[in-house]
Every structure is written in structure tokens, then in C-alpha cells.
């Protein structure tokens, strides 16, 4: 079953990408993107169910493998893609009407969109650490051009920065992969080196120095792509210049796919170093740094999408802190991943729509979003509140779990700094949210109406986040526990 399913999963998006290049009109490309992604949900869901019920799937001589951790990430990724894809026709409608979205652009958008999906699927389903890296690299290059679908000077600049910084980062990650492979050299047959499952098996015998150096390269490398401070600097530029669905994709999952790569290495490194917590401490350090640095930029932020981008840095930081705090923290972190992806996707989609209608992303010139019954305004306001961590939404609970993990470890400094950073972020976001909601503005967009589809796109994530806050299904808990166990000890109990 897995032998055929996994390659198909990886191949399908690329096939869809090719199809996009053949479609005749912009409208049809966008419809294909929407329906195609919705269609892809079924095979993906099938694979995820298989993994969760029968254990890991393997294919292609163990080069492809999907366990609970990857299945969980895959599910989150599909949520983000579904949201973004449903939103794309809404968002680009205006561009099509104004003739800014020619067929070539539409084709490029569609194929890159599916290409990114394929590349990230490759990341999530590979057991070979080299293939893992190839997937990340491919997703970097594919998404680079998504940033500048609309070719403006600012978007080109953002793309250039993204390319340069992330290429360097991914190059470092490659070096890290090589070092990790080198640390296993002589202990694994060459044909099996870099297979994650095999690495895990011989992890206690890996060369500690080499694996340490390798992990540093990996952390800095993948961390650059994941947006950990201080390597996050490309992120606000890219997010603010990309079209809304692309920003949502970036924040919602692209960063997490890079972070997923770091997660893959953690059990190997920790086992190799005798569970000394060395790599976990590094993660906590970078996580806290990300929270604090991003909070600084959110306080006086003028641009709505940049605000959201920094918020992403903060949340990646929270996830890093969580993973760094052991198994309870890892579970919290994974739960947070889901919550953040949902919330941030909604936030970017809403911000994109609001900004598009108002003609500006400058917070000071927006306002009054809650006055009318403009569903995107409501979505943006609530998404901001949710991301800042108000109860009873799920983000609040995942942050509490992280705190609890910190307290149980007795790492009071982590707890204190975490609370401080999250507090600063809260007051920053709240200030902007209140302004957006009620301040008088001459660019009032609240009178716009929205279709039922748009309402669904807004209300579903909100309802889901609310539900996950007050009621978390047992099955989801189980999945998260399993996935967290993989992060902490490679899946062995």
C-alpha cells in the first residue's frame, strides 16, 4: 500500500503543476488550484489515516517514509493549502478585473503553488536526510518566484533577499547534513547512511563532535528558513510583499516545514549525546531570542503584513521553546503548530483582503473594521486576538502547555522571559487590533459585503480554534503524543 501511495503523493502535486501550465485562462487556473487542492485532500487524508492507524508507511527502499510526526505536519499543511487555495480566486479576482493577472502569471502562480506543495510533501515524506534537504531547497526556489507574482520593485527586492539569505541558510543546512552523514561514516554501510531510521538505530554510536557541529549547521541553516531570530531578517520583507495567499502559505507552513527538518534531527542528536539536552537548550535559546526580537518589532510596527510576519517569528520561537522543554513541551509545540497555522493563515488572508480593498497595508490608515459586517475585518480582528493568545482559543492553551512544561522542568528563567516576551507581543498586537477595529479611518472597507464562501473561509478556522480550545479530541491528543514521542526519542518508548 505505502509502496505506491507515498510516491503518488509526492508526484501528484507536480503533475498538477504541469497541468496548470496548460490551462487556457487565468480564471480556469485559479479554479483548478482550488479544486485540485481540494481533490488532493483525499489521497493525503488516506495516507494520514493509514499512518495513524497502522503505523509508519515506507516506500522506495525506505527513502520515503511517513510516521506520525510527518502525518501530523502533512495534515496541517493541507489545512493551510486548502485555506489558501479557496481564497486565491477571491483575492485575484480584483487583479483579473484590472488586467494585472495575465494568463502567464496565472500559470506561473498555479504551477509554483502546486510545486511548493509537492516539494513540501517531499520534505515531509522523506526518510533520507539528503532528500529532506533537497525538498527544502526545492521549496525555497519554487516559492521565491511566488513572492513576485506581481512584479514590483519592492517584491523583487523581497525576493532577492529571500533568495540570498535562504540559499545561504539552506547551504549551511546541506553542510550540516554532510557532517551528520560524516558522523555516521564507518558505522553504517554507505548505501544506508543518511537514512533517518538507520541513523536513529546507531545514534548512540555517532561521533559526538561531528554531530554537534552538524547540528549547529543544521539549526542555523534550517533555522534561517524557519525564521528563528537572528536569521529571520528575510521574513518580514517576503511576507509583506507577497500576495496574501502566498504570505499565508509562507507563515502557515513553509517555515514549519523547515522547522520540521530540525525536529527530525533532534532525537538523533540527543541520543548521540546521551540525552544531555544540549540541542534542546540551543532551541530554547533561539526560541526565546525569537520571541524577544520579534516583540521589539511588533510594538511600533506600521505595516500590517509585517506585523503578522513578526508574529510568525514569535510563534516559531514559541514552538522552538516548547520543543526545547522535553516531551510535554514538544506536545505543546506541535499543538501550537496547528493553532498557529490556522490562525496565521486566517490573519494573512484577512489582512490581504482588507489591504487590497483599502489600498494600503499601513495600520495607521486602516480602521473601523468592526463597524460594518465585513467578514474579513472580523476575521482579521479575531485572528490578531487569537494569535496574541486570548482565551478560550487554542493558542492560549498551547502557550499554557508550554509554560507548564517550563515550570515542570524548573526552568524559571525560561518561564519568565517567555512570559515577558509574550506579554510585550500581546500589548503590541492588542494596540494594533484595537486601532484596526474601531479607529476612525477614511479608508473604510467595512461596508463591503462578502460571499458565503468567504464567510466559510473566515469562520471555519475561528470555529476550529475555538473548538480546539475548549474541547480537544482524544484522537488528536493521541496523534500529538505519538508525534512528540518521535521528536523526543525517535519514536521508541
Amino acid at each position: 500500500m505505502g509502496q505506491t501511495l507515498l510516491p503518488i503523493l509526492v508526484a501528484l502535486p507536480f503533475a498538477a503543476a504541469v497541468v496548470c501550465l496548460l490551462l487556457p485562462t487565468s480564471q480556469s487556473v485559479l479554479q483548478f488550484v482550488r479544486l485540485g487542492v481540494l481533490g488532493l485532500v483525499f489521497p493525503f487524508a488516506l495516507a494520514i489515516c493509514k499512518v495513524l492507524s497502522h503505523g509508519p508507511l515506507e516506500a522506495a527502499g525506505q527513502w520515503l517514509r511517513m510516521d506520525a510526526l510527518s502525518a501530523y505536519h502533512l495534515a496541517v499543511m493541507m489545512l493551510v493549502f486548502v485555506g489558501g487555495s479557496c481564497f486565491s480566486p477571491v483575492y485575484f479576482r480584483k487583479d483579473i478585473e484590472e488586467d494585472h493577472f495575465s494568463i502567464s502569471r496565472a500559470r506561473r502562480f498555479g504551477s509554483l503553488w502546486f510545486g511548493a506543495l509537492g516539494a513540501m510533501t517531499l520534505v515531509l515524506s522523506s526518510n533520507n536526510l539528503g532528500i529532506l534537504w533537497v525538498g527544502v531547497e526545492a521549496s525555497t526556489l519554487l516559492t521565491a518566484f511566488l513572492i513576485c507574482i506581481h512584479r514590483t520593485p519592492a517584491s523583487l527586492e523581497a525576493m532577492w533577499k529571500y533568495l540570498i539569505i535562504c540559499s545561504v541558510g539552506v547551504a549551511f543546512a546541506f553542510m550540516g547534513t554532510l557532517l551528520a552523514g560524516a558522523s555516521a561514516s564507518g558505522r553504517l554501510p554507505a548505501t544506508e547512511a543518511l537514512l533517518w531510521t538507520h541513523m536513529m538505530e546507531i545514534a548512540p554510536r555517532l561521533d559526538p563532535m561531528l554531530i554537534k557541529a552538524g547540528f549547529i549547521f543544521l539549526l542555523v541553516g534550517y533555522g534561517t528558513k524557519a525564521g528563528l531570530a537572528p536569521m529571520h531578517s528575510w521574513l518580514p520583507d517576503a511576507h509583506s510583499q507577497a500576495p496574501a495567499p502566498v504570505s499565508a502559505l509562507f507563515s502557515g507552513f513553509l517555515l514549519n516545514s523547515a522547522f520540521y527538518c530540525v525536529l527530525r534531527y533532534i532525537p538523533i542528536v540527543e541520543t548521540a549525546l546521551g540525552h544531555s539536552g544540549w540541542s534542546l537548550r540551543l532551541l530554547v535559546f533561539f526560541g526565546l531570542l525569537s520571541i524577544l526580537v520579534s516583540s521589539a518589532f511588533m510594538v511600533m510596527q506600521k505595516d500590517l503584513k509585517r506585523l503578522l510576519a513578526y508574529s510568525t517569528v514569535e510563534h516559531i520561537g514559541i514552538m522552538a521553546v516548547g520543543v526545547g522543554l522535553g516531551s510535554a513541551g514538544a506536545a505543546a509545540s506541535l499543538f501550537h503548530l496547528l493553532n498557529h497555522s490556522l490562525g496565521k493563515t486566517l490573519a494573512f488572508l484577512s489582512a490581504g483582503r482588507v489591504g487590497q480593498l483599502a489600498g494600503t497595508n499601513e495600520i495607521a490608515r486602516l480602521g473601523g473594521l468592526l463597524r460594518g459586517s465585513f467578514v474579513w475585518g472580523v476575521g482579521l480582528f479575531w485572528a490578531l486576538l487569537i494569535l496574541s493568545g486570548v482565551a478560550p482559543f487554542a493558542v492560549f492553551f498551547s502557550e499554557l502547555q508550554t509554560l507548564k512544561a517550563a515550570a515542570d522542568q524548573g526552568s524559571w528563567w525560561t518561564m519568565g522571559l517567555f512570559l515577558f516576551g509574550v506579554g510585550v507581543v500581546f500589548l503590541a498586537i492588542l494596540r494594533h487590533a484595537i486601532h484596526l477595529a474601531w479607529a476612525p479611518s477614511n479608508r473604510d472597507v467595512s461596508a463591503n459585503s462578502s460571499s458565503w464562501l468567504e464567510k466559510i473561509v473566515v469562520l471555519c478556522p475561528l470555529a476550529l480554534l475555538f473548538m480546539l480550545g475548549i474541547w480537544m479530541p482524544e484522537s488528536l491528543q493521541r496523534v500529538i503524543r505519538e508525534a512528540a514521542a518521535i521528536i523526543v526519542m525517535g519514536g521508541r518508548q
Partner: protein, 218 residues
Amino acid sequence: MISLSQTWMDGLLVMLMLTNLILLGASRLGHGIRLIAIQGALLGALPILGGQHGWTARMLFLAVITIGLKAVVFPWFLHRALRAGEARREDNPFVGHTASVLAGLVMLTVATCLSARLPTVGAGHSMLVMPVALFMILTGPFLITSRRKALSQILGYVVLENGMYAFGLVMLQDVPALVELGILLDAFVALFVMGAAVHQINREFDHMDADQLDSLKG
């Protein structure tokens, strides 16, 4: 015991190091591209001359591909980009050329020190692999940081790639083609993508100075 292949390999590595230092001091972009081509050729020679198990078909294939791409295709591609743009020289880098060479020496020292702490893998390898690879890995970002022209930054990136390539070729020769494929894919796509990006930037801005791309901040 020092074998012949090891001597060869040491020589190649030292030459890589030297090209690197020269690159740090080079102000003409065309000159830099030629140095990159030389580096590519040296890298292609590494598996052939430094191989421990004699010549296998795979190695030959690798060498050919490497030389073909790194010494011929990329430089040609970069030359084309150079001709498309206005600038020929890296006139006013953030760090001057002489200072860059000195910084290069510092980086070499750092790389040597760091690699001394790492265990050598596989008895037969040259002691120089790690320091040279690290040196190149440090030089790459340094070039990107200290130069203004977008093209110079691509050169820096290629140096970075080359460093890892050297490391990968020597250390992980036996690992299936996957890794090499990764390297090539990376370098290949990166160059094309970046080249295309440079092309677009050229069209949009009429210049290739990356340091003027700073309208997005805060």
C-alpha cells in the same frame, strides 16, 4: 603513510585555498568569474586524483559533470549576466580588497582551529579537507556580506557551495549519488534562479547594486 593520491589531493586543496584568497582580493568581476571556473575545475579533479579506490565509472562521471557545470556552464552563464549589466568592477566594497585578504587569513585561522577540534573521518583522507572546506564556507558568506554587486554575491554563494562540495566529495565518496545530485541540483538551480532574479532586478532597477535594495526595513 602518505600515499600519492593524498599528495595530489593536498595539492588540489591548497590550490583551492589560494584561489579563494585571490578571489577575496579580486576587484574585477570578470576576474572573479574566471577564478570560480578554476575552482570548478579543481573540484572536478578532486575525485579523480584523490580517489582511494582507483577510478570508477561513477567518479569519472562525477568529475565530468562537475567540470562541465562548474567550470564551463556556470561561468558562461555568469558572464552573460555580467555583460547584461553595466558594472564591470566591484569598485567600492564594504570591506576593501586588501582588508578582505587579511580577513581571509583570519578566517583561515579560525577554520583551522575549528577543524582541529573535529575528528577526522576515514583514515585515508587528507588533513586539509576540513580546514579548506570550512574556510570556503566562511569565505562565501563573507563575500556576500562585504560586496555590493549582486553578481559578487552570487560568486560568494558559489564559493560556499564549492566548499561544501569539496567536503562532500572527499568525506562521503561512498554515499550513493544522492548527495552529489543534491549538490548539483542546488548549485544548478540556485545559479539559474539567482541569475534569473538578477536579470529581473536589472530590468526593474537599472542597476545591480544589492546594497541599494534596502527600501524594506523595520
